[in-house]
Amino acid sequence: MSVDKQPPDPSDAFPERAPAPAAPPLADRANILIVDDRDDKRMAMQAIVADLGENIVMASSGKEALRRLLHDEFAVILLDVNMPGMDGFETAFIIRERKSSEHTPIIFVTAVNDTETHVSRGYSLGAVDYILTPVLPEVLRTKVSVLVELYKKNRLLKRQAEHLRQGRDELELRVKNRTAQLADANEALREEVTARQQAETELRLLNLELEQRIFERTSQLAASNQDLEAFTYSVAHDLEAPLRQIQGYAEIMEEEFSSLLPPEAKQYLERMRLRSENMRLMLEDLLNLSLIGKQELKRERTNLNVLVNDVAATLKADNSSRQIEWKIDDLPVVACDPGLMKLVFTNLLSNAVKYSRLRQNAVIEVGQEAHGDEVSIFVRDNGVGFDMKNADRLFGVFQRLHRTEDFEGTGVGLAIVARIVRKHGGRVWGQAAPGKGAVFYFTLGGTMPEPGNGTISAIAKS
């Protein structure tokens, strides 16, 4: 700041006052310290800067000024140089020593004639300016206003910086919190994933264990089945010889001693013979049945029509006296065991012939039918049929749904059919109504062609 050396301009005696700015609100006001030992000079200076509307604090000595400076921050200090006791410069020196006021602008108020000394003593303190008495109000006001302005700007900047710092701290805190939250969430997620993976592994192990157990159980069952079949075979086989011998003795008795036997005795012997023969047939059937299980299934491309025609021809010849209409449709070519399949048709067709014995005009049909996406073969007759409520006994061994007096048989034919069909991986079922004939369907598992197509579409599993 420059020292004002020029004498006051007469034309400035009554300077036009710039319109005073509106007084700032209380909180925005800056503090101005006026230090002078003389009341009048103090009052005069106060009057001049009062227009600025800032907060004016007065001190009448260096000491008092210092005291004031302890309590508050000031935008500018107007400091009289000539004061008793501690003069302006000494006061200023101490002011500068305090951290809180080391940069507070000081305007020394001094008389013109002391300029050189004052200037040299003052400048070393930094941030000083001089104003010469008599004070030109406008000059004083301008200088103070500039410094107040500067102070306020600084203050604003500091506040803004503080806000910024606070904001940044807050943000950092929030970021830290959010990071902590995320870390927690991550941790929780990681734990969940681990738990999930563990559960998966456990499940997989359990599945494997289950599959292993199923495999074992299936093998056990298969072995058990084989045992059962072998047992059936050996029992049937062992029962044959003594049975045959019983029959033999009955025959010998009839032959050798018929003249000695009363008619009832001969009758009893005959019954014995018949029953023994019946039992022998059952054993033979049982043996055949158990042998089917033992056999290896050998699959060949088989024309079912050829098989059926073969079986039908034999039956026609054996039943030439009967009126039977044979309706044999086109059947597919399948991969199956021809020998066993022939047995299936033999049993089904001879059953059809047998149970339609009471019909004047028996009709036997053989054909193929689609069931969903499977093709099945059927054999239908218009014979005596059976009651569906007994259907679950149809394929049982030695299970008969008719009296032996009406229709002979051991009740093994359908059991044989069922076993062969199941060995091929297929299903067999029957439908009937009493007096309305019966139809038997069977599928052969993976060897059956697609509906509407007469050739193999898939080669059977080995």
Partner: protein, 144 residues
């Protein structure tokens, strides 16, 4: 005729059947394969060919203890002396037994079913086999 069967009842039945044909004389009955071989080779007590003449025809059961019918057939093939006509008479239902018996040198294979059915067929086969071999032979030579 020599009969080899481990079942007393079956031997009885066969005996009764053979009674019906005067041309056939039952000269011996053995109850297991080893005895059959002993008889044919004239070993032990069977060296006495007066009491145990060498047979023209042998009825052979398959299922016997100590040596089975198949083993006897096998043994016979290794022998150089004149072999009897062997008729395998078996209670088994196994389909492979018939061809196997014939392959091992049996002249015929019969299942043991009821007497009446067996009889005529049996006699016929015996006659045929003997004729093929040349019958009217006298007692068998004794084995060395």
């Amino acid at each position: 005729m020599l009969m080899a069967d481990d079942s007393e009842d079956d031997r009885l039945f066969l005996r009764i059947i053979l009674k019906g044909n005067p041309r056939l004389a039952l000269v011996g009955e053995v109850s297991d394969g080893e005895e059959a071989i002993a008889y044919l080779s004239g070993a032990g007590q069977f060296a006495d060919r007066e009491r145990f003449p060498y047979p023209d025809v042998m009825f052979l059961d398959l299922k016997m203890p100590r040596r089975t019918g198949f083993e006897v057939l096998g043994w016979l093939r290794t022998q150089s002396f004149e072999k009897p006509v062997v008729i395998v008479v078996s209670g088994s239902l196994l389909p492979e037994d018939a061809p196997k018996s014939l392959a091992l040198g049996a002249a015929a294979y019969h299942r043991k079913v009821m007497l009446k059915q067996e009889r005529d067929a049996l006699f016929r086969e015996i006659e045929e086999s003997l004729a093929a071999r040349g019958n009217g032979r006298s007692a068998a030579q004794s084995a060395s």
